[in-house]
Amino acid sequence: MSKLITWLRQRASLQAWLLLLPSALWLFIFFIAPLFIVLVYSFLERGTYGGVVWHFTLENYRRVFDPLYLKTFWRSFYIAVLTTVFTLVLGYPLAYYIATRPQRQRGTWVLGLMIPFWTNFLVRTYAWLTLLRTHTGLINLTLMHLGWIHKPLPLFGNDTAIIIGLVYGWLPDMVLPIYATLERLDRSLLEAAMDLYASGPKVFARVIWPLSLPGVVAGSMLVFIPSLGAFVTPAILGGGKALMIGNIISNQFLAAHDWPFGSALSFVMMAVMLVATLVYFRVTSDEERRQL
């Protein structure tokens, strides 16, 4: 037995793959294999009403670079970036707040963060609709009743509404990973840093922020990516007047019956995101993160 362990310990690769085995198997069979189907489909011609015609073509990829869709890509990117920034600005202090609660309370605070999201997504979005509507929304009605404004604020059917909805929807995904890293910060380390720099902002900039960076990166990814692919929130809160890339992709499957083009769009989007993610991790993980 101990021989086996020694043998294993000498072979890091094998250890790693043993740990990875269950998830690798699961993902290769139930994710990569199906993904391969999407890849094949993206090179086929559409069936007129869904499905595919088995005929090889590159047309779907050519269409991805149509200015109409590039413009939509750009717009989605812009909304997703704003969403991520706002979520970070709102979520970081919240994560910090939870991490600084007495240890026994933290679990409760974290649960309190998640509980709203155990209700139904659609019902939550409609609740926002009740708040944001231009003429009959509670926010505008209240502000007008108080006499603070005389014309309703344009809170609904535009990018503001979409971003509010997305920030709300993904806030826990930002807070959780940041909290997970902040919670580990050593109190005594902070106190030592406090003595050394003697100013809150300096301690934050030099100690806390760098140490929480892995959480910030993970959180930003968890927010940015689904925001880029969002399609229900833009449809309901954005009034459906402007498309995001998620709408275009889901439309290909659910309205245009164009599975190959939907597959090609998904693939290009995934490829872009994957390359960006991997490049980011290669740059940060090996140098910066190890230094911390």
Partner: protein, 391 residues
Amino acid sequence: MKQRLVLLVSLLVVMGLLLAACGTPKQQATQAPKPAATEAAAQPTKAAQPTQAPQPTEAPKEVQPAKEIVFYNWSEYIDPKVYELFEKETGIKVVEDNFSSNEELLAKLQGGATGYALIVPSDYTVKIMIDQGMLAPLDRDKIPNLKNIAPRFRNVYYDPGNKYCVPYQWGTTGIGYLSDKVKKPESWSVFFDPDPNAPWYGRMTMLDDAREAFAAALVYLGYDINTTDEKQLEEAKQALIRAKAALSGYDSDTYEDLLASGENLIAHGWNGDFLQAMEDNENIAYTIPKEGGVIWVDNVCIPASATPEQKVAAEMFLNFILRPDIGAMISEYNYYATPNKAAEAKLDADFLNDPSVYPPKDVLDKLQFIKPVGKAESLYQRMWDEVKAAP
């Protein structure tokens, strides 16, 4: 079937390649599935034809009905009491599943979902499904109550002679408005020639559906709503872009609520939705503009994937809902018009005389079906994307 086998085999090949890649450390750089493999997978399958053969397996004469069947329906579209009565009479339990658009239904069945004994596609979707061999023809001897269907719905373009489907409910697409706040819109020009000073400017919605939106614009311009003429579509697109400035949004799901609450004043939508919203706001009214509008029929059909036992049980259920008393019960529940002539006798005169449920003859003549347009489908979608992307 053959193409599926090919896909499965090529899948296994790729998995093998990936595993082999894992075996040789040098190959770690190539993590993505290889394009070469993709081409190899696509090549030999060219020959396979895209036919999903309908399998009209003649059921042997004495097939016992299934004990439980799944009815894939729109939500809130049938009185649950109908299931209870049916179970009491036949012992067959009906379980309901819901979908929320024809496209969802189509995509799910095309992806290979099975187990449904009954589905409720709308007219143009029925046409597509029949053409794709996705529906099983009805055994008309088992459904004697088909005689109750009004003549108008017996020879519909999508299923002449009700060979595959039983018409379930029908309705129209028009304009709903708040009668206490705006005067009745007589023409589609409220949308397509919007007056920036009108109180409803910026407080209107249109359906978030390419074909419905284009149908409204094409009717307004006096064209066939199923046109495939690019020039006419271009004109319709321009009209839709003009309308966009006056809209608070495109909405197919909550527009009637937004109207009932007073957020919006005018909405493009389906008649039954407005009728249901009248419960909340009695000032909601429905009209079909002078240029005309869209008529649609939802149908109950049996998917080709149903087993013979399920099919027999499904046909018993179809015969059951075609009974006059049950047909009336369904209309009373969902406020839509019934294509069941015999059931009309059991319905309130008020209901039968309501022009927003049963449009008068002259209006009825101006209504058109949305039909599948084949290859032009992608043209519609493309132009719709352009409307959506317009500032």
